[in-house]
């Protein structure tokens, strides 16, 4: 796999590293390990790193003077042993209320796909989704693993205000809106959990490499959990994924 990596300059302050262009857990694992090794390597020149499905971008604090030299440094890091060891991966249980009051596009999806609404809910909450990375909005998880039967085109006219916690399907992806925003995805439910909390030391509980499992809840439970979240009393259920 190492041979397939491509390095490209991205402006004069960043280097883009690309893998084979596909959504795949093994490529993502390699990228996350590379990112982790860069983080552990004392390099004051590096300001930040951005993970994509099949890419890793290294942002430098100042203009890169010698591109080839920096690439050589990165290649050396890539070839080095990971002394910290792989990060623990968790599966987080995310309660979602798929009630029609929240899931305002469920009927439309049901009509077009010929799936009954309970079947859509079952398919959506059946398997865990891998968190590939966080982007788009602070706390927005890019999830992989949506059941093909639930692929559904984005709306041609995005809604101006999609509420925080909205669970939606856009094309071949599913996701949770971490804050109120405009959005063109089809809304199927709502979670009472908060995915980006600036007052926490680590604002996102989930990280790239973790898994998300949706648990269907009713409206009563939704409001009960929402209240607990507000009081800081709600504990998100998580299990260790890897051995």
């Amino acid at each position: 796999m190492g041979n397939k990596i491509k390095y490209k300059p991205f402006g004069d302050r960043a280097i883009l590293i690309e893998w084979e262009s596909k959504i795949c857990a093994s490529i993502s694992d390699v990228i996350l390990e590379f990112q982790q090794k860069i983080g552990a390597f004392e390099n004051r020149k590096i300001a930040d790193t951005i993970v994509g499905y099949a890419s890793l971008t290294i942002i430098y604090r100042t203009r890169i003077i010698d591109y080839l030299k920096e690439v050589a440094v990165l290649k050396k890091i890539d070839a080095s042993k990971n002394i910290i060891g792989k990060k623990s991966s968790f599966t987080w249980e995310i309660p979602v209320c798929y009630d029609l009051e929240f899931g305002i596009d469920l009927q439309e999806i049901s009509k077009v796909t010929n799936l009954e609404i309970p079947e859509i809910i079952k398919l959506h909450s059946q398997n865990p989704y891998r968190v590939y990375f966080i982007g788009f909005l602070p706390g927005f998880l890019y999830l992989g693993g949506l059941n093909k039967q639930l692929f559904f085109d984005r709306k041609s006219n995005p809604r101006l205000n999609v509420a925080q916690g909205t669970v939606a399907i856009g094309g071949e992806q599913t996701g949770i809106y971490p804050s109120e925003s405009a959005g063109g995805w089809n809304i199927i439910g709502k979670t009472p959990l908060v995915f980006f909390n600036i007052d926490e030391d680590i604002p996102c509980f989930a990280k790239a490499g973790d898994f998300i499992k949706f648990i269907s809840i009713d409206k009563e439970e939704f409001f009960k959990i929402k209240k607990e979240v507000k009081q800081g009393a709600y504990q998100i259920f998580k299990t260790l994924t890897n051995d």
């Binding site: 490209k8 300059p9 991205f10 402006g11 004069d12 302050r13 960043a14 883009l16 690309e18 262009s21 596909k22 959504i23 990112q35 300001a47 930040d48 790193t49 951005i50 993970v51 994509g52 499905y53 099949a54 890419s55 971008t57 942002i59 604090r61 203009r63 990375f133 966080i134 982007g135 788009f136 909005l137 602070p138 706390g139 927005f140 890019y142 971490p178 804050s179 980006f196 600036i198 680590i202 604002p203 996102c204 990280k207 790239a208």
Partner: protein
């Protein structure tokens, strides 16, 4: 303290931005025109990381609750202290209760107000830069009190005002490097990109500038990957979007060009209707 009497259109506190939080999806943010912000901080002998107020299109008013020194750089929005005009790019003394106002636009799109020692507003994720959902406010609001260092004594008396290169405001040429997907365009599209003059649409914000002219293309969208301030995206409908400081950390449109830091600064002083060209 600096008290906001009239908040203006979308004025914000900015420093050089947030680094190290991209893995939470947090944008970099920071001053749009770092060249001008650096001048205002340099004249006051501040750190270049000191937080300043980024002012868009004037029409705002501030009151100082203590004596200090300020410097205004970037666009000229007719700054006045107690109704008396003051110069840009010059260290200006202000007294307790003085009112600083910005009015008519003479040139530029963004002005920077630096204060001796820098603004001392709250830091979130290692930066004072305003961003919705991260800082308490995402734009200045009426009555907001911004902490500053009180009554600082000036040791470097200087009456010189710095001469700014007019090109920073008049240049239309944006120097770029090839973006990661540049080679996916054909020769004709490359020619169009470098030989056309583009106009800035009404869709302008700290997140990005959309251009009016289209480049027809059938370049496929990408698997979501990184984007940076200064990335020029080409959408399937042909629209060019130049991303700026508050842009998302990831995107899926082909990244055809990457503006130099200087070009981002030049663009930041432009607004709807103005023309730009790209060059490599």
């Amino acid at each position: 303290m600096i008290k906001v009497l009239k908040p203006g259109f979308f004025n914000t506190i900015q420093d050089k931005g947030r680094f190290g939080f991209a893995s939470f999806g947090v944008p970099i943010s920071g001053v749009m025109d770092s060249y001008s912000a650096d001048i205002s901080n340099s004249i006051l002998n501040n750190s270049l990381d000191a937080a300043v107020i980024e002012i868009i299109f004037g029409n705002c008013e501030f009151q100082f609750s203590c004596a200090t020194f300020i410097c205004i750089s970037g666009g000229d929005f007719s700054p006045r202290i107690n109704q008396k005009s003051i110069k840009l790019n010059k260290k200006i003394s202000v007294s307790k209760h003085d009112i600083l106002s910005f009015g008519k636009i003479n040139f530029g799109a963004r002005s920077y107000l630096a204060v001796l020692g820098g603004l001392q507003s709250e830091k979130k994720l290692k930066s004072r830069s305003f961003y919705k959902g991260i800082t308490k406010n995402f734009a200045l609001i009426k009555g907001l009190e911004i902490p500053i260092q009180e009554n600082s004594i000036d040791v470097l008396i200087s009456n010189a005002s710095v001469k700014i290169d007019d090109l920073h405001f008049n240049a239309t040429d944006l120097t770029c490097t090839k973006g990661p997907e540049f080679e996916l365009l054909n020769t004709q599209q490359h020619t169009l990109l470098f030989e056309s003059s583009f106009s800035i649409s009404k869709d302008v914000s700290r997140m990005g500038y959309r251009l009016n002219e289209l480049i027809e293309n059938d370049v496929p969208t990408l698997l979501t990957s990184s984007v940076l301030p200064g990335t020029v995206q080409l959408t399937p409908s042909g629209t060019l979007i130049i991303l700026t400081r508050d842009c998302q950390v990831t995107g899926g449109y082909p990244r055809i060009l990457q503006l130099s830091e200087k070009a981002i600064n030049i663009l930041s002083q432009k607004t709807a209707g103005q023309k730009i060209e790209f060059s490599i």
